[in-house]
């Protein structure tokens, strides 16, 4: 499996472009802050990875008319997808058989949650009813990049964008599409803030992945898209290849609705599948971008699964970048895909911020300082509710 990545676009709390995100990562500049855009009673007990732009600012950036019904999720997705298409040097999006595979968990809920009762009293709000579902987000993104063709959306909680990348790669590999824009987007919303609060897995401070005293995650918002293109298009258009999707796997933990199994079975199976498809060995991996949400449950489960695959003494350099951006839910695997590609392009392992005390259950110490070395292969994990475990392997060549 070798599917070429020819373009990337991203907007997150740590930057509004690929360059800005990379700059923040190598400068150790996290963006976990107090929430500004959403009024919530929890404002002083949580910190979030918020994009410091209002919806009006995003709409202006996209040149939307005053009567638009774009949700914040849709706007973030549109901005990132537009960047990716530009970065890939695409001038005519419909020239080849092109698809869009988006991913979201919030959909337009960031907007519709504001008007629950108000719809019946204000006819100007009725236009947002159609903006609620995942499909609307994808359609808005498709309209922004002018795509008419194969458009769909995956929603498997926090593994969504990895699954979008997977489907895109499979469709290109099978010759069903010539190229595909894949990724994910999720905006912060009262719905998710409160939802995660009820699960008691939010930290009131800064998230500390793989730390023995970790208390939970910081939510974040972001969008990122990558352009995957077939060898035929890369050749015909003389495209510069940024990296390749070389392996992937999806498996189900089938243990519990939200918690991961003790021995990380789903994660283990996903990684195993990815290696098989990539025809690579664990020792080929130079860097693991962990799911690492800093919840007591995830880091233990993921740690165990990683040890099962690599062997406790042979786990390569690893870190979770969620200490920088927060957990961006359905966008997470997409922004982390961008970070994985950048890691290979620049030969950089990002630091796992906020780490102090190793976990007691095993010997796993994340990379805490930025490290410069040649990186040929990166493994990226993303695990979602419903036991949905996904792994993607990226390769330089």
């Amino acid at each position: 499996m070798r599917v070429a990545i020819t373009g990337m676009g991203i907007i997150s709390a740590i930057g509004n472009s690929v360059e800005e995100n990379f700059d923040a990562l190598v400068s150790g500049r996290k963006a976990i802050t107090d929430i500004a855009n959403i009024p919530t009673v929890h404002a002083n007990v949580i910190k979030v990875g918020e994009i410091k732009k209002t919806n009006d600012e995003l709409a202006t950036e996209l040149g939307l008319s005053a009567d638009n019904n774009y949700s914040r999720t849709a706007m973030l997705g549109a901005i990132a997808a537009k960047q990716a298409v530009e970065n890939a040097g695409i001038s005519d999006i419909n020239q080849y058989k092109t698809g869009l595979i988006s991913a979201t968990s919030v959909g337009g809920m960031d907007t519709t949650e504001k008007h629950y009762y108000d719809y019946f009293n204000d006819e100007n709000l009725v236009k947002y009813i159609a903006a609620h579902d995942g499909g609307d987000v994808a359609q808005k993104i498709a309209e922004t990049i002018g795509l008419k063709g194969f458009v769909t959306t995956i929603s498997t909680a926090c593994s969504s964008a990895a699954n979008a990348i997977m489907l895109g790669a499979r469709l290109i590999n099978a010759g069903k599409l010539d190229r595909v824009v894949v990724g994910g987007t999720d905006a912060l919303a009262k719905f998710t803030i409160n939802g995660f609060k009820t699960l008691m897995i939010l930290t009131d401070g800064y998230n500390t992945p793989f730390d023995d005293n970790r208390k939970g995650l910081n939510l974040g918002e972001a969008a990122a898209f990558l352009v995957l293109e077939s060898d035929k298009v890369v050749k015909e258009q003389n495209k510069k290849v940024l990296a390749y999707v070389s392996g992937f796997g999806n498996a189900n933990d089938a243990f519990h609705q939200t918690a991961s199994s003790e021995n990380g079975e789903g994660a283990f199976l996903a990684m195993e599948k990815a290696f098989k498809l990539a025809n690579l060995k664990p020792s080929d991996i130079d860097y693991i971008n962990m799911h690492g949400t800093a919840t007591p449950n995830n880091d233990l489960s993921e740690g165990r699964a990683v040890i099962r695959i690599f062997g406790e003494e042979n786990v390569p350099d690893f870190s979770s970048t969620k200490a920088f951006t927060g957990h961006t839910l359905a966008a997470a695997a997409a922004i982390e895909a961008v970070y994985s590609v950048l890691a290979m392009q620049n030969g950089v392992v990002y630091p796992n911020l906020n780490f102090e005390t190793p976990m007691q259950e095993f010997h796993l110490i994340p990379q805490t300082e930025i490290k410069h070395k040649k990186i040929e292969h990166v493994l990226s994990n993303s695990f979602g509710f419903g036991g949905n475990c996904s792994t993607v392997i990226f390769s330089k060549n």
Binding site: M200, H256, T258
Partner: protein
């Protein structure tokens, strides 16, 4: 204490949507989690909210719930000792 235990059984059935279970089916010493009623960690979170809403007890660490929710008896003891409502 007996009145509280009866009240707890009825609330648990209502809050957790346990159709087909009546208060008389639940014994005071039966395990609520794992075996017995077979409740799980999501049900535990529901009971934590119940403690707060109906009895004014705020738990900050979900792991505390494990001991408190062992049985109707342990729940009633804990509530009696800590309730603010």
């Amino acid at each position: 204490m007996d009145a509280l235990k009866q009240e707890l059984k009825e609330k648990i059935i209502a809050v957790l949507n346990l159709e087909d279970v009546s208060a008389s089916d639940i014994n005071n010493t039966d395990p609520l989690f794992g075996e017995g009623l077979g409740l799980d960690s999501i049900d535990a979170l529901e009971l934590i909210v119940l403690l707060d809403k109906d009895y004014g007890i705020k738990l900050t660490d979900p792991k505390e719930g494990k001991n408190i929710f062992q049985s109707i008896d342990t729940m009633a003891d804990y509530i009696t000792a800590n309730r603010t409502k």
